[in-house]
């Protein structure tokens, strides 16, 4: 198990009810981690509509979660 911090933004944060949480994860990759959390919190957005970032830099969905890292799920952006 890896202890991670997960950050949620915008509609994901509203659905989760928190901006961040510390979790224990045993997922093989970040996609699996998102699917686990999607089930837990009822996120409407599928992984293919999101990007994922680790420790402040964009990452790949098939990257393995690293213990101690900060994972952020990035819903489709709407600045400008």
């Amino acid at each position: 198990m890896n202890r991670l911090t997960v950050l949620y933004f915008a509609s994901l944060r509203d659905a989760a009810g928190v901006a961040s949480e510390s979790i224990e994860a045993d997922n093989a990759d970040l996609r699996g981690l998102y699917e686990t959390l999607r089930e837990r919190h009822g996120f409407a957005l599928p992984a293919q509509r999101l990007r994922v970032a680790v420790d402040g830099a964009f990452a790949r969905w098939d990257d393995a979660p690293r213990a101690g890292s900060e994972v952020a799920f990035i819903p489709p952006v709407s600045g400008g």
């Binding site: 950050l7 933004f9 915008a10 509609s11 509203d14 957005l45 509509r49 970032a53 402040g56 830099a57 964009f58 952020a72 990035i74 819903p75 489709p76 952006v77 709407s78 600045g79 400008g80």
Partner: protein, 143 residues
């Protein structure tokens, strides 16, 4: 030199424009994005921008570096508001200086388009009918 910034408060354009002045530049183009009172046929009362600041800063800087590599420009800046904004407020500003106008216009367009598509900033709109919601646009299909 930091070229991209998030601003939690309203900001002045004149000092930003001044940063772009150069004896080498014969052209300056800028873009202002304002909060408008409607979206998708609904009356909008106001909005809030939220960002993932650490990643927004690095991605914003990357876009401005790309603009400097791709276009024959002298320099560029972009500032995006975060927090609560009222109708008519300045939401985003882009400024570009270049030797000639073609590159200034093209780079300005590139920077605002890439910012809207890539920088982790989200818009939460409040509608006149009392509803509110996050905008998570679907990107256009790539053919």
């Amino acid at each position: 030199m930091k070229r991209f910034a998030l601003s939690p408060q309203p900001f002045e354009i004149a000092p930003l424009r001044e940063q772009l002045l150069s004896a080498h530049a014969g052209a300056y183009a800028s873009f202002e994005g304002w909060v408008r009172d409607h979206h998708g046929g609904r009356a909008v009362a106001g909005l809030r921008y939220e960002s993932y600041a650490a990643l927004a800063d690095s991605e914003g800087e990357r876009i401005l570096s790309e603009a400097i590599e791709r276009f024959a420009i002298v320099d560029a800046r972009c500032v995006h508001r975060v927090g609560d904004l009222a109708i008519g407020e300045l939401a985003v500003w882009v400024g570009v200086s270049a030797a000639h106008r073609d590159a200034a216009f093209a780079a300005c367009r590139f920077i605002i388009d890439e910012t809207k598509g890539r920088v982790p900033i989200w818009k939460h709109e409040r509608y006149a009918d009392g509803e509110a919601g996050w905008l998570h646009p679907t990107p256009p299909e790539v053919s």
